[in-house]
Amino acid sequence: MDRRNFFKASLGATVASAAALASSSVQARPNLEPAPDAVGMLFDATLCVGCKACVTKCKQVNGMPPVPMGGDVHADFALDLSAQTLNVIKVHAEGKGAVKDVLVDGFSFEKRSCMHCVDPGCVSVCPVKALKRHPGTGIVSYDVDACIGCRTCMTGCPYNVPQYDYNNALGKIHKCQMCNQKGVERIDQGMMTGCAEACPTGATLFGTRAALLEEAKRRLALKPGQVYNYPRGDVRKPDSFHEKAVPEYQRTVWGEKEAGGTNVMHLSSIPYDKLGMPPLGERSFASISEGVQGTVYNYMALPAIALGGLTWLVRRNIEGGHDEGGKQ
């Protein structure tokens, strides 16, 4: 093969592989389906009264100290999720911030904790499989012994959930593991999460993802102003109910479909983007990126082509050098 033909052939091969890549990335893997026995939580912002009992209970279960402000160590002043805060109640206030669950001059509470995605980005990007989605419960857990501290999971999460312990020389990633981590295992013991147990209004409700989604849709179907018996604790076997007039909900359940869905779902009266939820489509990031990556490295095709191209370039340069050298 002369030089001209080799060049033509390699160009053709590159074009063909690029076309193959383009077509196959469209057919990347679909979103993962919810785990068969997926457990989760439903946070209804309209029920939250801001008592922060869930924050306290979470710290108690996880053995984490409160975040003090100044000399006050008796209350928790955590601003956001951190290595010592896996769950935090935040507020969105506009104008006077006087009326709850109203956008204009109102406010709304919002719970920040791991959403336990159905198709989790953090699990997808973790290079050492320290983060795992439990095949049965769908709980996204973290294996400290496997973690290499690369913090890629922090970039892979659309909700800014995994937090690195920067204050520790041998830092770890910290995130909610739905009270089912080693040594706690509340879910395995048939208990519910600490935050759902502590919540006095049922704003944080525990249960299977299917049951919670059903409950959330039931609430959306009710007429605003109608009195509804809100369950508390575990939606499948509530410890008690309380009556309250139904507010005007946003028409979607956050987490039903967003980025492939989440096991921790939210309901609110004010738009979700005001509560800090990112703009997400229905495709999960993991399915897109895994599709691209899977295609690129399929049968090591692209690396092989790249190697071919490089080899050719080097070879050409060496040959060229020889030619020049020969002429001299």
């Binding site: 922060k52 709850k100 006095p200």
Partner: protein, 388 residues
């Protein structure tokens, strides 16, 4: 009597007479006045002013006291008041000219006394309304001496110096104003539109709140500052939830879930049992009830607050339904959605500095070592040259 502005007593203040009349020592008497003034958040000056006002019987304002639809609870609780006792109130602080429960006389005679007093003290008497006023069917559901409560109230309010609605019924209608309210029960402020009515809600109301308000009136000749619902600010400006001694349990998420359960026995927060403290304005946590002591008031004895003094809460919301948390007071502070925990805390900066210093030291040492090595090599080469 002393008339100067700083409320000091002149020599003519006859404490001996007061001691005899009130049956208390001068010391006890002044202590009481200071206590009342302190409960307003007023200073010693006000205490002396009150003492003087009480000591001067000429200032006793005449009082016309009407009863409407009610259980006489406010009067009953006032009868058991200790600071001061009721007899001191009616004999020394006010001149109770008409009171349907307590009047010794009866019938037309008493009604005549009422009219006489209202005529004699026109524009000077204090009107106390106790009980709701039924408006349905021209108020026929409550009549005294052939006169409906509507007419009696309107008539007495006409020339009153001040009007006090005592108890939840008089303040906003109370239990009989709850749906379906067949008698059209209404509170005095809603009935007497356009007139200033001080309300002392509660079922029954704390007599201290009434006495404090009356003493303020006796002392200064005017009513204490009130809020938009006519409640004296000194007593009703804070939610029960704000001052409740079970509040730390609320903040820590420790709730009693059933009467008699572990949490209930431990004295945990009663919010989950339906406590209306977070939506009821009253001073019960700081005053408790009627000086009984020992934590005697609903939340103190383990029952959730019923919201008896709050319009729209007491008798209107189910007893065990969850309350709205109306305000959020410290230690509950909420970060904004956009707030982020700053990971570069001082320790991180320090750690980075230490790490930087270590790297720097290492590089420096390498450079120095390199220099030394260069020097040695140079020396070696020099000596080699010399040798050569």
């Amino acid at each position: 009597m002393a008339k100067d502005s700083n409320f000091s007593f002149d020599a003519s203040t006859d404490f001996a007479a007061i001691e005899q009349r009130l049956g208390v020592s001068r010391r006890t008497f002044l202590k009481f006045c200071t206590g009342v003034a302190a409960s307003f958040g007023l200073g010693t000056k006000a205490a002396f002013a009150m003492a003087e006002a009480i000591a001067n019987p000429a200032k006793r304002p005449p009082v016309i006291w009407l009863h409407g639809q009610e259980c006489t609870g406010p009067t009953e609780s006032l009868l058991r008041s200790e600071q001061p006792t009721f007899e001191h109130l009616i004999l020394d602080l006010i001149s109770l000219d008409y009171h349907q429960t307590l009047d010794a006389g009866a019938g037309h005679r008493v009604e005549a006394v009422k009219r006489e007093a209202m005529e004699k003290y026109k524009g000077k008497y204090l009107l106390v309304v106790e009980g709701a006023i039924p408006l349905a069917q021209n108020g026929i559901f409550c009549k005294i001496g052939g006169q409906t409560m509507m007419d009696a109230t309107r008539e007495a309010a006409e020339n009153a110096a001040a009007i006090v609605a005592f108890g939840s019924c008089a303040s906003w209608g109370g239990v009989q104003s709850a749906a379906p309210n067949p008698t059209g029960a209404t509170g005095a402020p809603q009935f007497l539109k356009g007139k200033t009515v001080v309300t002392i809600p509660g079922c029954p109301p704390n007599p201290a709140n009434f006495l404090g308000t009356v003493l303020y009136f006796v002392t200064y000749g005017k009513l204490p500052p009130i809020d938009d619902k006519g409640r004296p600010k000194w007593a009703y400006s804070r939610l029960i939830h704000e001052n409740c001694y079970r509040r730390p349990h609320f903040d820590a998420g420790r709730f009693a879930t059933q009467f008699g359960d572990e949490g209930h026995r431990q004295g945990w927060c009663l919010y989950k049992l339906g406590c209306k403290g977070p939506e009821t304005y009253n001073n019960c946590p700081s005053l408790e009830y009627n000086n009984v002591g020992g934590g005697v008031w609903p939340i103190g004895v383990g029952h959730p607050c019923f919201g008896c003094s709050e319009q729209g809460t007491g008798f209107n919301k189910p007893m065990f339904s969850l309350a709205e948390v109306k305000t959020h007071t410290p230690p509950n502070a909420f970060p904004n959605i956009a707030d982020r925990q700053n990971p570069t805390s001082s320790t991180v900066v320090a750690a980075a500095a230490v790490a930087g210093a270590a790297v720097g030291a290492f590089l420096g040492a390498t450079a120095v070592a390199g220099k030394k090595l260069d020097g040695k090599q140079a020396e070696a080469s020099q000596s080699a040259d010399k040798g050569a």
